[in-house]
């Protein structure tokens, strides 16, 4: 019995190894990329580990997995510190996103569909903003916000974010609107639709994908911005956005490392949710768009 088994196994096993070798030659990039993605996620995994540690556990073994896990203590403690700032960040990102989409798409539509005096010049002047680094305008923009009396208000974040986000929106959406066949609009006009209805009921619904890319870029940009809110919100705690809260929180809670990490994880959650719904849209927007210089 045993002999039969071994005899049967040997040739079969040999071809199995050969097959595995062939398989590896064909598919070796898969494990390589998998490893890369895991490595890219390492900071987040570390945060997850450490968030479950008490101070004593952390001193004993800072980087491994230790038991028991104290999530039930660290997460509520972190939540109390960051909850208000999460709400602020959601408001800032959502409102500025809607503002950018509304005004940006309206302007893009005008640039794409009509011809009027000075259009090309104005368009190029808007696009030239893509070349001006944010750092150049940081200080004087702060002065302007101060003079307008917006210092330490939500408007100090919303208005500049909406203004700046429109440049990219106009650029991306104009190209898209211009590619919509004009017959769509002509037939709507014949049926008596106003130009605004053409925009609202025809152009906008067709531009879902590109609008999604614009929206995600805007949300990522505003959600991650550290310096502008740090400057303009200053010491007004109830207006802190996530990055400001984390920065301050980090200095205050240096000793409670588990809570600190739990705070980082909570801060990432809204974006995780967003990406669960929109990652496909974003990937397709990036890969199908044919972006190049």
């Amino acid at each position: 019995m045993r002999i039969a088994q071994t005899a049967g196994y040997a040739p079969d096993g040999g071809s199995r190894w050969r097959r595995l070798g062939r398989h590896m030659r064909r598919h070796w990039p898969i494990p390589v990329i998998l490893t890369l993605i895991v490595l890219m996620m390492v900071p987040m995994l570390l945060a997850l580990f450490i968030a479950g540690k008490s101070r004593a556990q952390f001193d004993f073994d800072p980087w491994g997995l230790t038991f028991p896990i104290y999530y039930h203590q660290t997460f509520p403690a972190a939540w109390r510190v960051v909850s208000q700032s999460i709400l602020n960040s959601v408001i800032v990102s959502a409102v500025s996103c809607i503002g950018v989409l509304f005004f940006g798409s309206l302007s893009a539509y005008v640039f794409a569909r009509f011809d009027f005096l000075g259009k090309n010049t104005v368009f190029v002047i808007i696009l030239s903003l893509l070349m001006i680094p944010a750092i150049l305008t940081l200080v004087p923009r702060f002065v302007v916000v101060h003079k307008l009396g917006l210092f330490q208000t939500m408007w100090a974040l919303l208005l500049p974010y909406i203004a700046a986000g429109q440049v990219m929106a106009v650029f991306l959406m104009r190209t898209f609107f211009a590619s919509i066949p004009s017959e769509y609009f002509e037939s709507a006009r014949i049926d008596g639709a106003s130009e605004f209805r053409c925009f609202w009921n025809i152009a906008l619904p067709l531009s879902k994908h590109i609008a999604g890319v614009v929206a995600i870029l805007q949300v990522l940009g505003t959600w991650n911005d550290i310096f502008w809110p740090y400057l303009t919100i200053g010491t007004k705690k109830e207006l802190f956005t996530i990055p400001v809260a984390l920065l301050i929180f980090n200095d205050q809670l240096g000793q409670q490392i588990g809570t600190q990490m739990a705070g980082y994880i909570i801060a990432s959650m809204p974006l995780v949710l967003l990406f669960a719904f929109a990652s496909r849209l974003f990937v397709e927007g990036l890969t199908a768009g044919g972006l190049k210089l």
Binding site: R26, H27, P29, I30, I33, L36, M40, P43, A47, F58, P62, W63, F103, R113, F114, D115, F116, L117, G118, K119, N120, V122, V124, I126, L127, L129, M131, I132, P133, I135, L136, T137, V139, P140, R141, V144, L159, Q166, V170, R174, A178, P181, F185, I226, F227, I242, P243, L246, N250, A267, S268, L271, L274, F275, F282, L286, T287, G289, K292, L293
Partner: protein, 325 residues
């Protein structure tokens, strides 16, 4: 302005070229007043956009350039000093000169990280035959983007920590205890630690942009190169790289723009220290403006950064256009 305009129009195909533009356009031969009157409603729609950009972008940009020739602080009268601010930057400000060296190191590495590594990773994903794996890997590439930048910076500060840091723990674990150090606290190594944080240095967005270029290559070209007996490396060098050059150049220019003005990561990880050894121009601008109240000098640093970015961008566009032809 003329140069920039021709560049932008050349790059982005101008406005309305090749595309249908609504019919009510007023011919170029009608009078100027008619044309202005015709244009007014369009400007009314553009008004919110233009107003916002004027108040929060153009006017501040103008102020920055204007104030770079003044000694000035908020609330105080400004004194005209000509190009003194710029002269001082290069002759008396050792921290600024140091920051130039640092930003040079960071820029070289970020440019490499933004162009070469995404190309390699994109080629790897491109080589995968399974459509399902490809799909999930594309999602996996942008997954790290959902971790807020500040969280990544703070975690890396922690990985580099002298007493409890992961890096020192790993080095001790493999018997290299003599290599352990306070990575961000040693003036000689801090800038290198800062530059090489973010392992494994894969930029997901850039990878996807490059991958999009690879996927747009005509499959017949790739097949015929295979039939002609070209090896994979030959194909990548002779076919893929020239054909995705537009994408690589986009990544290159984006990397230059981002790295010359970099400062948030430095602020969070080292605050420019120890003893200003990791200072970068962007952060030096910030300190001058808000800690030392030298707004004029800070504006001058901003203008310097702006001009550097503009020149490097134009130079790299020029060089690589010729190489491609």
């Amino acid at each position: 302005m003329g140069l920039l305009k021709s560049w932008l129009v050349g790059r982005f195909g101008g406005v309305g070229t090749g595309q249908q533009v609504a019919r009510q356009s007023v011919g170029a031969r009608s009078g100027l007043r008619t044309r202005i009157r015709h244009a007014l409603p369009y400007y009314a729609v553009l008004l919110p956009t233009l107003l916002g950009l004027f108040v929060f972008d153009y006017y501040p940009a103008f102020l920055a350039i204007y104030h770079s020739f003044f000694e000035w602080d908020i609330g105080l009268p400004a004194t005209w000093v000509g190009v003194d601010n710029f002269v001082r930057m290069f002759t008396q400000d050792r921290t600024f000169l140091r920051s130039l060296r640092n930003v040079g190191i960071i820029t070289v590495w970020i440019v490499f990280q933004a162009t070469v590594i995404p190309l390699v990773v994109a080629e790897l994903i491109f080589a995968i035959k399974s459509i399902r794996w490809k799909y999930w890997f594309r999602i996996g590439m942008i997954l790290p983007a959902i971790i807020p930048g500040i969280v990544v910076f703070l975690l890396w500060r922690f990985i580099y920590d002298g007493s409890v840091g992961l890096l020192n723990a790993l080095l001790t674990g493999i018997g290299l205890e003599s290599w352990t150090r306070v990575w961000l606290g040693d003036p000689r190594v801090a800038i290198w630690a800062l530059t090489f944080s973010g392992f494994p240095w894969v930029n997901g967005v850039n990878t996807l942009i490059t991958l999009a270029g690879l996927q747009n290559i005509n499959a017949e070209i790739l097949e015929s190169s295979e039939l002609d007996g070209a090896s994979r490396l030959q194909r990548i060098w002779r076919l893929d790289i020239p054909l995705v050059f537009g994408q690589i150049k986009l990544n290159l220019v984006r990397a230059i723009i981002a790295s010359i003005q970099i400062f948030e990561v430095v602020f969070v990880m080292t605050e420019g220290g120890p003893i200003k050894s990791t200072m970068v121009p962007g952060l030096w601008l910030y300190y001058n403006a808000f800690n030392y109240h030298r707004m004029g000098y800070a504006s001058a640093i901003g203008v310097f950064i702006f001009v550097t970015i503009l020149l490097l961008t134009l130079i790299s566009m020029r060089i690589f256009r010729e190489e491609r032809a």
